[in-house]
Amino acid sequence: MSDAREPVTGIEAPVYLQYQFTAGRAPSRFLSALKQGRLTGQRCPGCSQVYIPPRGACPACGIATEEEVTLSNKATVQSFTIVYIPIPGNPIKPPYIVANLVPDGANISFIHLLSECVNEEVHIGQRVEAVWKPEAEWDYKMDNILYYKPLEEPDVPVEMIGKLGVDGLEGKQS
């Protein structure tokens, strides 16, 4: 648009809107527990499956969830990707691993970073453990857990992923 004789063919349209976000009841309980250093899920009264992060409903049954369950810091890699591109607004440097992780005691995976690992050695069924920030830095945030790191434990057979109790492979199934 510097040349005044060139016709206008475009405009910039800054659309910036301000919102006050309030977390729902179930997410608020989840975040409050995280601030205390606990990872929690909610158990569906219908199908008994444990959800993380809890959203207040069992998506399969469509009924409200209420019962809070404390989950393990240990988890299993359900699957993962090695990401080579930066996330907008995130300081993590590529390549990094984003994994679908099922914490022991839960029946569903959530996404988090995997670190302190050799990227080429990460695999489905691998055991990992949460690495928390120092307690003084805990906030109402999932990134109180900085990342997960590999554990020296036997792999979980694929058919068992998502079915471990809170005590892991050694404990009873949920």
């Binding site: 349209a13 809107l17 301000q18 919102y19 309030t22 608020s28 959203r55 409903a57 469509g62 009924i63």
Partner: protein, 356 residues
């Protein structure tokens, strides 16, 4: 158009309270109680027991993409269900569901709408539905546009400020019998007129409040409704029409699209006992009443209408639900419901509901 091939029954309806802020309640938590309520009215388990589900919501109201995807978590959609969504008021989700039943792909449908409008500055958020080159960059808010429309009405002698206040007074009065209303009470026209202007010529009470909440409805073929054995009303006709996006080419003192939708829906085919009109601003109720040809015999907005509480994306569906409830309760035999979308009544839907 009127419903010729398959008559459609409205079987259940419920809406949440209109709250100035739903606070710590997310979409799923807003929707679930309403869906539970309509399921219980019919005696159904969850969305598995209907043939089709359709919802209405708008991502920008709460500022998150894919709000409706979270809504699916409230349905019990395992095994998978037939489901669709309109980024419009759920009255249009009702319309889509009616077509599905008419074409024989469903005998029943669950419809719901929901929004948390309180997290943002709603009149400013909605300015971004205007022309993206000429108006949206100026951030012309929806209250101001309605005020321009009201001034046109006043200048043309089609209404007085007292007429507007009378609409508000009746809304607040009627809302005293509506447990879900946000604003209710006895207020005189004189006391309303004594209030200062907000965006002149509008006063604050001429504008609907911002409300959070949800509503849900179940419709079915008449055969299915009979099989369920619950009271139902007949959705006799439903139609909707849109107008130009250029507000200045429209005659804002009339609502030709409402008139057209009303003709197609068959509003004039019988007496109208009750009308629930989606008029977010007081003067718009007068425009709509005229466009629908309503007279003395019609009780307009017995719920208080949206001036008493406006569940964005659900208020249109709620208007249909309000008429349904008055018909099954025996209060009315025949009613008209109206929904609107866009600035200054740009897009209007009209439904005719009758006693079975």
């Amino acid at each position: 158009m009127s419903v010729q091939a398959r008559d459609i029954a409205i079987v259940a309806f419920h809406q949440s309270d209109c709250q100035a802020s739903a606070g710590a309640t997310n979409e799923v938590e807003l929707i679930m109680p309403e869906i539970r309520a309509v399921m219980d009215q019919v005696g159904l388990r969850n969305a598995q027991d209907v043939d089709f589900v359709c919802s209405g919501s708008c991502d920008y109201l709460q500022g998150a993409a894919f709000a409706f995807v979270a809504g699916v978590d409230a349905l019990g959609a395992v095994p998978p269900i037939r489901e669709s969504h309109v980024e419009m008021d759920a009255a249009w989700a009702l319309y889509e569901s009616v077509l599905k039943i008419r074409m024989g792909h469903a005998d029943s449908a669950l419809i719901y709408g929901f929004a948390k409008s309180s997290p943002g500055e709603l009149p400013i958020v909605l300015s971004q539905q205007l022309d993206p080159y000429y108006l949206a960059p100026l951030w012309v808010d929806t209250v101001s546009l309605a005020a321009l429309q009201a001034r046109l009405m006043l200048d043309a002698g089609k209404i007085t400020e007292a007429d507007m206040a009378a609409v508000v007074s009746r809304s607040r009065h009627n809302a005293m019998n509506n447990p879900h209303a946000q604003l209710a009470g006895e207020v005189s026209v004189e006391s309303l007129l004594a209030q200062q202007h907000f965006v002149s010529p509008l006063r604050r009470h001429d504008c609907c409040p911002v409300s959070d909440g949800a509503s849900a409805m179940i419709i079915a073929t008449v055969e299915q409704a009979k099989a369920w054995g619950k009271p139902y009303a007949i959705l006799r006709g439903i139609d909707h029409r849109i107008e130009s996006h250029n507000l200045c080419t429209r005659d804002l003192t009339e609502s030709p699209s409402t008139r057209r939708a009303a003709e197609a829906a068959g509003v004039a085919d019988g007496a109208v006992d009750v009308a629930e009109l989606y008029a977010p601003f007081s003067h718009q109720e007068i425009i709509l009443s005229r466009a629908l040809g309503l007279g003395e015999g019609t009780s307009v907005n017995p719920s208080g209408g949206v001036l008493a509480g406006n569940l964005m994306m659900a208020s249109g569906l709620s208007r249909v639900g309000e008429v349904f409830q008055r018909i099954v309760s025996g209060e009315a035999r025949r009613g008209v419901a109206h929904a609107t979308s866009g600035p200054c009544l740009q897009h209007n839907l009209v439904a005719v509901v009758e006693a079975a």
